[in-house]
């Protein structure tokens, strides 16, 4: 990239600019590409969501603007731009106007650490994974600003709910990724993807295993449980349907967005859909190998070893194939999100928090312990005083780790389901009975 810009500016145009200008041009180009791609994803996702949910509800959905209604989101965008910009008199003007910016900016920063292909990495950061979650937590403050600055009861209620939900579901999400960090020993998204080559996780060093790019973490008990917990928390973080309490339209109109009109509303919408895309993408990257898949590594290695002319072709092919795998996985998870919206009713806020406290957090904590055991069984040896592990073969160690973590995770899951059934059901049954007696009392 640096060489290309250097060539264009200094050789072809003969400007002779210094190095830092070239770097700046490079950064601005990358940022510009990201800032174009993210809204495009949002347009596509809103269209897909409306069509899919329509099909699930036995409707047609938007199909008039453009082929199959494909330009509907563009039309919506134009409409939003030409709507009147309303700032309520009683609102806190600057807080009200600043809130959409505070919500949107972090989402764009999160886009920058997502690896799209083997070499399509905007920014490879050592702390990429933690950066992603740290930046995503900033928008909670923006939501509270929106709720408070609008001077509206619905807005304030929605903002409070959104912030509480965000703070709450961050814990299981971060605990799930902690399990992955323990196994991989890195926070860099690129390195986490590199580990997921091979055929089964942690076996890609073994020479007998072909590198099919299928060493996804979801194939291990630790990764599978982490994936389930993470995806559920992602639904809550992205305010997707079973957890869309902050904007429950049957109770509090549109939550924190109630007083927003025109493009201010559009920015919230944009932030939400880009966030959903990113959460699906990060799920695909952490647990489903991102761009890893059969053939990518092979093409990529050919790109390195082949002759100069052929290497470019192979590298481009590898990146295109990787990008296709990555987008296919990401869109599949978005489809699952829409599917859940079509299938599940909305939770109440007490159910939401109960589920987090009494199910997700204990489960993810157990998963962290299993991840530790997995890492010990696979990676430790004589330096840690466990020389007997080295005596076992790679396959035996892997099998032992798999069986051990599977038993622990399954036992934790079943145990927690039992505990929650006994403690949860009794109260709901009692409440039910009370409700029914109340109803009969009022009827009689």
């Amino acid at each position: 990239m640096y060489e290309v810009i250097d060539h264009v500016l200094n050789v072809q145009m003969g400007l002779g600019v210094p190095g830092w200008v070239i770097h700046l041009v490079r950064h601005v180009t990358v940022a510009g590409i990201l800032l174009v791609i993210a809204p495009l994803q949002m347009l596509l996702l809103t269209y897909l969501e409306r069509r899919i949910i329509a099909r699930m509800q036995d409707r047609v959905g938007p199909n008039r603007v453009g082929p199959e209604g494909l330009f509907q989101p563009v039309a919506d965008g134009i409409k939003m731009f030409t709507k009147e910009d309303i700032v309520p008199t009683a609102s806190d003007r600057w807080v009200h106007l600043l809130a959409p910016c505070v919500v949107v900016a972090p989402v764009f920063l999160m886009v920058s650490v997502v690896p799209w292909g083997p070499e399509l990495v905007p920014i490879d950061m050592n702390l990429g994974l933690l950066f992603f979650f740290a930046v995503s937590s900033v928008s909670g403050a923006g939501l509270l600003m929106a709720g408070w600055g609008s001077n509206n009861k619905f807005s304030l209620l929605g903002g409070m709910r959104a912030a509480a939900q965000m703070v709450a579901y961050e814990i299981p999400a971060v605990l799930s990724i902690l399990a992955i960090v323990i196994v991989t020993g890195t926070l860099s998204l690129v390195k986490i993807l590199n580990v997921q080559g091979g055929l089964f996780t942690s076996l890609n060093d073994v020479s007998s295993v072909p590198n099919l790019g299928l060493g996804w973490f979801v194939f291990t008990p630790v990764g599978f449980l982490a994936f389930l917990c993470f995806f559920i928390s992602a639904l809550a973080e992205g305010e997707r349907t079973p957890f869309d309490i902050p904007e429950a339209d049957s109770e509090i109109v549109a939550g924190y967005m109630t007083e927003y009109s025109g493009m201010k509303f559009g920015l919230f919408y944009l932030a939400q859909y880009v966030l959903n895309f990113l959460l699906c993408a990060i799920t695909a990257i952490l647990f489903f190998g991102g761009w890893q898949g059969p053939g990518v590594e092979w093409l990529h290695s050919r790109g390195v070893t082949a002759s100069p002319d052929g290497s470019v072709v192979f590298t481009i092919l590898a990146n295109v194939l990787g990008l296709a795998y990555f987008l296919a996985k990401t869109y599949f998870f978005f489809f699952v999100m829409v599917w859940l919206r079509g299938a599940f009713p909305r939770l109440r806020i007490d159910q939401l928090l109960d589920f987090c406290w009494k199910f997700l957090i204990p489960l993810t904590l157990v998963n962290v312990v299993s991840a530790t055991l997995w890492a010990i069984a696979i990676q430790w040896g004589s330096p840690q005083g466990l020389a007997f592990l080295e005596g076992m073969g790679e396959w035996a160690r892997w099998g032992m780790a798999f069986a051990l973590t599977l038993v622990i995770n399954a036992a934790a899951y079943i145990g927690l389901v039992r505990v929650n059934e006994t403690s949860g059901n009794q109260t709901t049954v009692a409440e039910d009975r009370q409700d029914r007696s109340m109803k009969t009392a009022t009827l009689s």
């Binding site: 950064h27 990358v30 940022a31 510009g32 800032l35 731009f81 030409t82 709507k83 009147e84 910009d85 309303i86 700032v87 309520p88 008199t89 009683a90 106007l97 910016c101 949107v104 900016a105 764009f108 920063l109 920058s112 920014i123 490879d124 050592n126 408070w148 609008s150 001077n151 509206n152 009861k153 619905f154 807005s155 304030l156 509480a164 703070v167 709450a168 961050e170 814990i171 902690l178 960090v181 323990i182 020993g185 109109v253 007083e259 025109g262 493009m263 559009g266 920015l267 806020i349 007490d350 928090l353 406290w357 009494k358 957090i361 904590l365 530790t372 890492a375 330096p383 840690q384 005083g385």
Partner: protein, 118 residues
């Protein structure tokens, strides 16, 4: 090295610029016909009852407080998770004790019923 953060800074400035630009542009493009009714708080068509910025139940505060304690705990575990391989059994015991103390707190909450949303 700060180099990976220079593009982040560029991206941040561009993103903020675009957000502000979009808001300003839409406020200029749309019609401007404000009215007392239009600028009043929206309460499903009713006359607004009382001020909107009122006190809130302590429940939200409790939830935030409990979760932040856990947040900090998890953050403490991240540096450990990265070096967990080379530290061996001693590190395992240290982190185990750390986690056990917080689990005691979690058990206390659960027993006390603090996790119930009223």
């Amino acid at each position: 090295m700060l180099t990976p953060y220079v593009p982040i800074l560029v991206l941040f400035l561009l993103a903020v610029f675009i957000a502000v630009f979009v808001i300003v542009l839409s406020s200029q493009l749309g019609p401007q016909k404000p009215g007392a009714r239009k600028l009043a708080p929206y309460e499903s068509g009713m006359e607004p009852i009382g001020p909107a910025m009122r006190r809130f139940p302590v429940k939200f505060y409790l939830v935030a407080m409990l979760f932040i304690v856990f947040d900090i705990e998890v953050v403490f575990l991240f540096p450990y998770a990265l070096v967990f391989r080379e530290l061996g059994a001693a590190g395992l015991v240290a982190a185990g004790v750390f986690l056990a103390i917080l689990m005691a707190g979690f058990a206390y909450e659960w027993k006390k019923g603090a996790l119930k949303w009223d």
